[in-house]
């Protein structure tokens, strides 16, 4: 069964300011089609959780939204700006937590944040760095090389790096992976702190986490949106059934 986004009354949400607008997005790597005519919107302040089996194209979708990968065809507006028009302006407004922490292993925590802060031209950088290091509870390790950090600590520092320039839109690609329960709480706390006036797109393999945080849930399979629903109308039994089917590869 396929669901077209319009079935869920998306047309009406267009009146509300949309922060992310994707229309007929396609992406192929060589002969492999990774995203197939994907269309959806995320409204300002919304939280979209994306589920789907490995290789569904979730990371590719987020990479396109964050200007890292060029789409093969289709229209993508982030914060009202088209990807081709002014990617630099989009980059100012977004933050991405990806599979890898994007940190330099031979720099210490402070130097890493300082480097990215300078690139983003963050005002009052020193204060901001201290604040973020406190938030992710890494202040005591600030002068240690990132090479010596555990994976979870690197992930926490990555969170600090992403929030450093106070992006309005956050893309989170499996942000909870590698975090211990306490760090998960830190991350969820940070997310809840800034919810509302920030827009989130999160990829996750954890049903509980994804549903708990989301306004809208989406399942991507083989590059197609096979499920898309707002949480208030969510038929969670049906959702679970479809999700379990897709990840088991039985659909």
């Amino acid at each position: 069964m396929t669901f077209s986004p319009d079935l869920f009354g998306l047309k009406e949400t267009k009146k509300i300011t949309t922060e992310i607008d994707v229309v007929n997005l396609n992406k192929s790597f060589g002969k492999r089609k990774v995203l197939d005519n994907v269309s959806f919107q995320v409204k300002k302040g919304g939280f979209l959780s994306i589920f789907g089996p490995n290789g569904a194209g979730k990371t590719t979708l987020i990479k396109i939204l964050s200007t890292l990968v060029a789409p093969t065809s289709g229209k993508v507006l982030v914060s009202g700006i088209s990807l081709d028009d002014d990617p630099t302006l989009i980059r100012k407004k977004i933050g991405l937590i990806s599979h890898s922490p994007l940190l330099y292993p031979d720099l210490n925590a402070y130097e890493n944040l300082k480097f990215y802060g300078t690139l983003y031209q963050v005002p009052h950088l020193e204060k901001r760095i201290n604040f973020m290091l406190d938030k992710v509870e890494l202040s005591h390790r600030r002068y240690d090389l990132v090479r010596t950090f555990s994976k979870g600590m690197q992930q926490r520092l990555a969170i600090a790096r992403v929030l450093l320039h106070q992006p309005a839109i956050l893309f989170l690609d499996e942000p909870h992976s590698g975090l211990d329960p306490h760090a998960v709480d830190i991350l969820d706390g940070l997310i809840n702190d800034i919810r509302g006036d920030h827009t989130f797109v999160m990829i996750t393999h954890s049903l509980e986490k994804g549903i708990a945080l989301a306004d809208v849930v989406m399942i991507l399979e083989n590059g197609k949106i096979i499920f898309y629903q707002e949480k208030e109308h969510l038929d969670s039994d049906k959702f679970r059934k479809i999700y379990i089917q897709t990840v088991k590869g039985e659909s």
Binding site: S28, F29, G30, K31, K33, A70, T72
Partner: protein, 229 residues
């Protein structure tokens, strides 16, 4: 329409090149030098060698211009044109080298003498060989087209630079086909110009067909993908 244009240019090229053969061997006089009173037969190569050489430069320039157009307009067809033109640049470059080597062999009895222009062409071929290695090792079409466009531009600019740089070397090397001094007879000039026109038509014809083939390949891939191949 385009396909027919390719054929038309191909036929014209064929006729003109036959005319060059006739002109070179039947009409134009033998060049006589004090060293070779019977005439320099190998000079006949001039009517083929130089037009091919100039055409290969044209091919390299068109490869770069199409590359710039691709980067600006992002339309796939310019990538195909650039790629096809670069293929032809390499092909014509190879022919230049080959005719040049035959000439050096006949004149100096050596297969290779580091003659400046032939050396330029050796570098030319090495540069464009790199293009094909690059092309085959990027899987994403968009990225491949972009990288190759950038490289095609650099490669075209590199050609005149390597031409000049070889002249910086103080040692004196022999030069193929010096036309300075020797005034060309009308028959020679006409034959040369026909050769030039013939090679240009051949290039245009090949360029059209190659570009067409490349875009057909793309279409086939696309259709295969839709079917779910």
């Amino acid at each position: 329409m385009k396909q027919r244009m390719g054929l038309v240019f191909g036929i014209i090229a064929g006729i003109l090149l036959l005319a060059v053969f006739y002109g070179a061997f039947m009409v134009t006089p033998m060049i006589v030098t004090p060293k070779a009173p019977d005439g320099v037969f190998s000079q006949k190569m001039f009517y083929f060698h130089v037009p091919i050489a100039l055409t290969s430069f044209v091919a390299s320039a068109i490869g770069a211009i199409a590359a710039i157009l691709f980067l600006v307009k992002k339309e796939r067809k310019y990538d195909f044109i650039s790629y096809s033109s670069v293929q032809l640049a390499l092909l014509f470059g190879f022919l230049v080298e080959w005719t040049g080597i035959i000439w050096t062999r006949m004149e100096w009895g050596a297969w290779w003498a580091w003659e400046p222009r032939l050396t330029t062409y050796l570098i030319f071929m090495l540069v464009y060989a790199g293009y094909f290695v690059l092309r085959s090792s990027v899987s994403d079409e968009n990225a491949r087209a972009r990288y190759c466009a950038v490289y095609a531009i650099i490669a075209a600019i590199n050609t005149p630079l390597s031409f000049f740089s070889i002249r910086l070397i103080p040692a004196v090397h022999p030069v193929v086909f010096t036309t300075s001094g020797a005034s060309m007879e009308t028959s020679m000039l006409v034959t040369f110009l026909i050769g030039m026109a013939g090679m240009t038509c051949l290039f245009i014809s090949l360029l059209i067909t190659r570009t067409k083939t490349e875009s057909l390949k793309e279409e086939v891939d696309y259709l295969k993908n839709i079917i779910g191949g």
